[in-house]
């Protein structure tokens, strides 16, 4: 297996063919509700203290479960219980299918622990893949949080076009928040330790977005 640092870069790369360009991290729903370009940095922060911790904690718990030969179903259940909105769960499961499909082709053994699950969320798949590829818990949490920041920022260039240098500046400014997510979640050992923090307004935006008939992004 290749070096774990390189594999973490691969998983965090927007060029990974997992339809990442269809996702906005609910930014489109937020913009529909009136969020403007100047609000995006605080939107990033809100996700980093909320939904992103659920995702990172879930991924870390899934990695742990695979390494300890424990079942993944309780991790999946814990994630779903913390992810209130059906629209967000559905979007995550769709992304998970793409990731599972890709990794299943590249590393069939790595996705085998997922076999008992019919449609797990993305964080569970990412965690299982990280276990098989030798990524550490911190590297995994970092991939999850960094990907979330980049997903929102890339979508913002479509939805609220600005000088991309400014938007990359938002990514850089969010990096300390990414490290806080790593610190808060890398030590998660069991499903019950996954942070249970929601951002109700983001959930409401996500659900409303899923019901619109005019949108650029899947979620």
């Amino acid at each position: 297996m290749a070096d774990a640092d390189l594999l973490a870069l691969l998983l965090a790369d927007a060029r990974l063919p997992v339809a990442g360009h269809t996702q906005s991290g609910t930014l489109e729903g937020a913009v529909m509700a009136g969020l403007g370009a100047t609000d995006v940095p605080s939107y990033l922060q809100a996700r980093l203290v909320g939904v992103t911790r659920v995702e990172a904690g879930t991924a870390v718990a899934a990695r742990r479960a695979v390494l300890d030969d424990e079942p993944l179903a309780p991790v999946e259940t814990a994630w779903a219980a913390r992810t209130v909105t059906p629209a967000v769960r559905t979007a995550s499961r769709t992304q998970a299918r793409a990731l599972r499909r890709l990794c299943g082709r590249l590393w069939p053994d790595v996705v085998r622990p997922l076999d008992p699950l019919s449609s797990p969320g993305r964080a569970v798949v990412l965690g299982a893949v990280a276990a098989g590829l030798g990524l550490g818990a911190e590297a995994l949490a970092r991939v999850v949080a960094y990907d979330d920041v980049q997903t929102v920022c890339a979508a913002s260039l479509k939805l609220l076009p600005l000088d991309p240098t400014v938007v990359t500046g938002w990514v850089v400014d969010a990096l300390p928040g990414v490290e806080e997510v790593v610190a808060a979640t890398a030590g998660v050992k069991s499903p019950s330790e996954i942070p249970a923090v929601a951002a109700p307004q983001i959930e409401v935006w996500a659900q409303a977005h899923a019901r619109t008939t005019r949108r650029l992004f899947r979620a």
Binding site: H21, Q23, R100, K158
Partner: protein, 237 residues
């Protein structure tokens, strides 16, 4: 095994037929026409790639040409080109889901989001593709060329019934297209012209037959023209 691995090989799965071309040229209507004409003979399903709405999927559902669940939409994050060419995963997953849900499928039709003249399907997503132009877009478009116009498996010059109203000479536009395509097929189509519809259906059925016999090799129309090295055959990069 992962849930989305299906054991059939290339020939045994349904034909995947792409329909692409600029906005407003009649891709959705062409698919509705194919469904109306072929759904009594073949088991069909459709994946639409809408740029901004689920309008195309809703149009097809409301046309009543197929059961609603056989028509599914993919959002493309404002990247219709990417979704049919560089990262086809969202489309491939819908196609595979349809093939899984309807094991009797004969043909899956994929409608691209209306994009520009350079957008064509990856051969990893479709087995064959139709590029659609219309006479109202201007009589000179076929002559301008581009990968889809020149090298899609079929070029449809649509809405020929509108030609008198937009001052386009259909025979001339068709001749330009034939010249640009170096003999590849062209259908000048009007839904009011039965003969043209039959020509389209004949083409689709012949492609399906070639696919079923394992004779169909998906070809990339390419973002670029094929080029030659001395002493070699044409190839794409």
């Amino acid at each position: 095994m992962p849930e989305h691995h299906y054991p059939h090989d290339h020939v045994h799965r349904p034909l995947r037929l792409g329909v692409c071309g600029p906005v407003g040229t009649g891709k959705s209507s062409l698919i509705a026409l194919l469904c109306r004409e072929l759904s009594t003979r073949l088991s069909l399903a459709v994946v639409t790639n809408d740029i901004y709405t689920d309008e195309d999927a809703r149009f097809l559902r409301s046309a009543g040409v197929l059961a609603e669940d056989r028509i599914r939409a993919v959002e493309t994050g404002a990247c219709p080109h990417t979704a049919i060419r560089d990262d086809i995963s969202a489309n491939l997953m819908e196609v595979e889901a349809l093939e899984h849900d309807y094991p009797d499928l004969d043909v899956v039709l994929l409608e691209s989001g209306g994009d520009n003249l350079t957008a064509t399907f990856s051969p990893a997503l479709v087995d064959a593709q139709v590029f659609v132009l219309d006479v109202a877009g201007g009589g000179d478009v076929a002559r301008k060329g581009g990968p889809g116009i020149e090298r899609a498996d079929l070029l449809v010059v649509n809405k020929t019934d509108l030609a008198p109203y937009v001052g386009v000479d259909v025979a001339r536009m068709r001749a330009d297209a034939v010249a640009a395509r170096e003999g590849r097929p062209v259908v000048a189509l009007s839904r009011h012209d039965r003969e043209s519809i039959d020509a389209l259906l004949d083409w689709v059925l012949s492609v399906r037959s070639a696919h079923g016999h394992g004779d169909l090799v998906p070809v990339d129309p390419g973002p670029m023209a094929p080029h030659f090295h001395a002493g070699e055959h044409a190839h794409h990069h």
